[in-house]
């Protein structure tokens, strides 16, 4: 109380002291801020920076990369990763965009479907992918049994063919992550101001036209950010291929994350495994840079 009076009473004479006090206060604020950052900085240095430095050191030799390029198994893996990511992400995001439109509709049975639909997201990856593995394996998996019981079709042996097996991996991946992206895009669509929808309705824009001229432009930025994020995650996905096809037939469906672990722990060549992982960086770094600029300049906004 008295401090306030002093400042109010003699503002000019007290000004230097006040400035000093404010400076001290800011100084201490900075001290606090830095102290608050210490725990995260410690985690970052010990468990991110140091391992990354270690990886760069392990993968520093150019001969490793020459060896990778000479390995047909590695080249097949790169093709698989590109297909798994390119097809998987675009299929998933486009389906999520369309389905978010379905879930915008206010019907009790559509809401009930949403509750069921997000179950794959809630399920941990391992049980989900194990189930896909058993559903598709051999001639007697659930899917082939259903095909023959219901439609008298003899299903293929999914994991005997590279493309069928990779397709199965993609479907399982989409199954697991489609609900997540649908909910994100749904939230984005719900944030579109109702006035815009009403104005469009007054102007006679319905159905497809409203979707193309109103929803798509407003959702474009969010859709792009989500696609970038999904791409980064999918390039590095390990569990899907490792569990669903297990690389079958004959490791022809391996992706980069899986081959890295195989090199490092199956044939005890950790540097080669690290090199395989690092070879994805020329693709990942630009993606992360674009993503960060998008996030920084606009936030993820409509």
């Amino acid at each position: 109380m008295s401090g306030t009076h002093e400042v109010l009473g003699r503002p000019v004479a007290r000004a230097p002291w006040r400035a000093l006090r404010l400076g001290l206060r800011h100084g201490s604020e900075r001290g606090w801020a830095l102290a608050f950052l210490v725990p995260y900085a410690a985690v970052f240095v010990a468990f991110v920076l140091y391992p990354v430095a270690n990886a760069l050191w392990m993968g520093r030799s150019p001969t490793l990369y020459a060896e990778l390029i000479d390995d047909p198994h590695y080249l097949r893996t790169v093709v698989n990763t590109a297909l798994f990511t390119g097809v998987g992400v675009n299929l998933m995001m486009f389906a999520a965009l369309l389905l978010s439109g379905l879930f915008m509709r206010r019907r009790w049975w559509i809401r009930a479907t949403l509750v069921v639909f997000i179950l794959p997201w809630a399920l941990p990856a391992i049980p989900a992918f194990l189930s896909f593995h058993w559903m598709l394996i051999g001639e007697q998996g659930l899917l082939n049994s259903l095909l023959s019981e219901l439609f008298a079709i003899e299903g293929p042996i999914w994991f005997n063919d590279r493309w069928l097996a990779l397709g199965a991996d993609i479907v399982a991946y989409v199954w697991k992550w489609l609900p997540f992206w649908t909910v994100i895009l749904l939230a984005g669509r719900m944030a579109i101001p109702q006035e815009l929808e009403d104005a469009a309705a007054v102007d006679g824009a319905t159905g497809v036209r409203r979707f193309v001229h109103l929803t798509v432009p407003l959702l474009a930025n969010l859709y792009l950010v989500c696609t970038l994020l999904a791409t980064i995650w999918t390039v590095a996905d390990f569990a899907t291929v490792f569990y669903v096809s297990g690389g079958a037939p004959a490791q022809s469906t391996d992706v980069l994350a899986v081959i890295g672990v195989r090199y490092a722990f199956d044939i005890a060549r950790p540097p080669l495994g690290v090199a395989a992982a690092l070879s994805a960086l020329p693709v990942l770094i630009p993606l992360v840079v674009v993503l960060m600029r998008r996030l920084q300049t606009r936030g993820v906004q409509l």
């Binding site: 800011h26 604020e29 606090w32 801020a33 830095l34 608050f36 950052l37 725990p39 995260y40 985690v43 970052f44 468990f47 391992p51 990354v52 270690n54 392990m58 389905l99 509750v115 069921v116 997000i118 794959p120 809630a122 399920l123 941990p124 391992i126 049980p127 989900a128 189930s131 058993w134 394996i137 051999g138 001639e139 007697q140 998996g141 659930l142 049994s145 199954w175 909910v183 994100i184 939230a187 390039v235 996905d237 390990f238 569990a239 994350a257 890295g260 672990v261 490092a264 950790p270 992982a277 690092l278 994805a280 990942l284 770094i285 992360v288 996030l295 936030g299 993820v300 906004q301 409509l302």
Partner: protein
């Protein structure tokens, strides 16, 4: 007359849209539930020692696999409940540490007059340049050099390191909804930054903290690769790793494996559906509205 025809056509169109959505919903329900049904089908099979044999309906469902699981009555299941506790320990520790460390960092960057604070957020996000599955090999070596081999804490450290950047991002976005004037008013009243953090920031951020905590919990519970490579002894394994062990044997009882997988899937499903509203609100309020 033409007007009436328009109404009829519109009614037809509406019915068509309705029928289409209903059909789509039915398809989505089957799509979502088929793999889950498959899990139950295998777990309820009494035999399980043969490869799965073309059954589409459990004629004689048996709870034998769940009994064996409960009693740890098979040698792959010997330490099941201990492993369950390990998974729980890793999940809860990751949740608490992520919320604590992430909120401290997000507060320092977003709510104090720290210059160039955004630099830290960007540095944190750089974690995702080298995705977790690509970093696991050097991480494995680093953990050896720290003397944390076969130690649950090593897994907790990995999960926190990968959950925290996302947590910081979400918390920072969400914090924009909390007016900065509140902090300033408290500071004028003489509160220290620590008090502002504890009494204003944390309570007002509760929905976002819950969302971020749930995210970290589910991430740590469901993660597999680090747990598999960092934990080796059966007593220190998590459920995720234990389930994978079944593949080491040629004639493992798959019904036991599926029963274990189902029990392992139940806690995250309960958390997820219990906190669904909370989670969606927390994650999207910050992330989508910007």
């Amino acid at each position: 007359m033409r007007r009436a025809a328009g109404t009829v056509r519109r009614r037809w169109r509406r019915a068509l849209v309705e029928a289409g959505s209903a059909l789509l919903c039915a398809g989505l329900a089957i799509w979502s539930l088929l793999p889950v049904y498959n899990m139950l089908l295998i777990a309820l099979d009494a035999e399980g020692d043969t490869e799965y044999a073309g059954i589409v309906w459990p004629a004689e469902p048996s709870l034998e696999s769940f009994r064996a699981l409960w009693a740890e009555d098979y040698w792959y299941l010997e330490h099941f409940w201990r492993q369950f506790a390990n998974s729980l320990y890793i999940g809860v520790a990751t949740m608490v540490l992520t919320v604590l460390i992430g909120s401290l960092a997000a507060f320092a960057v977003g709510r104090t007059r720290l210059r160039r604070g955004w630099l830290l957020t960007n540095t944190a996000l750089l974690t995702y340049v080298v995705p977790a599955s690509f970093l696991v090999i050097p991480f494995h070596r680093v953990i050896h050099s720290y003397g944390l081999t076969d130690n649950l804490l090593a897994v907790v450290a990995a999960e926190v390191a990968f959950a925290a950047p996302f947590a910081i991002l979400v918390l920072q976005h969400y914090a924009r909804l909390v007016p900065l004037e509140l902090d300033e008013a408290a500071r004028v009243d003489g509160a220290s930054p620590a008090q502002v953090y504890w009494r204003i920031y944390l309570p007002l951020m509760a929905p976002a903290l819950a969302a971020v905590g749930t995210y970290a919990l589910l991430l740590a519970w469901g993660e597999y690769l680090y747990q598999w490579l960092l934990l080796s002894s059966p007593r220190n394994m998590t459920v995720a790793v234990a389930i994978e062990q079944f593949f080491d044997s040629d004639e493992a009882p798959w019904n036991y494996m599926m029963a274990a997988a189902i029990v392992y899937a139940l806690p995250p499903i309960a958390v997820f559906y219990g906190l669904r509203r909370y989670m969606a609100a927390g994650l999207t309020a910050g992330a989508v509205k910007g």
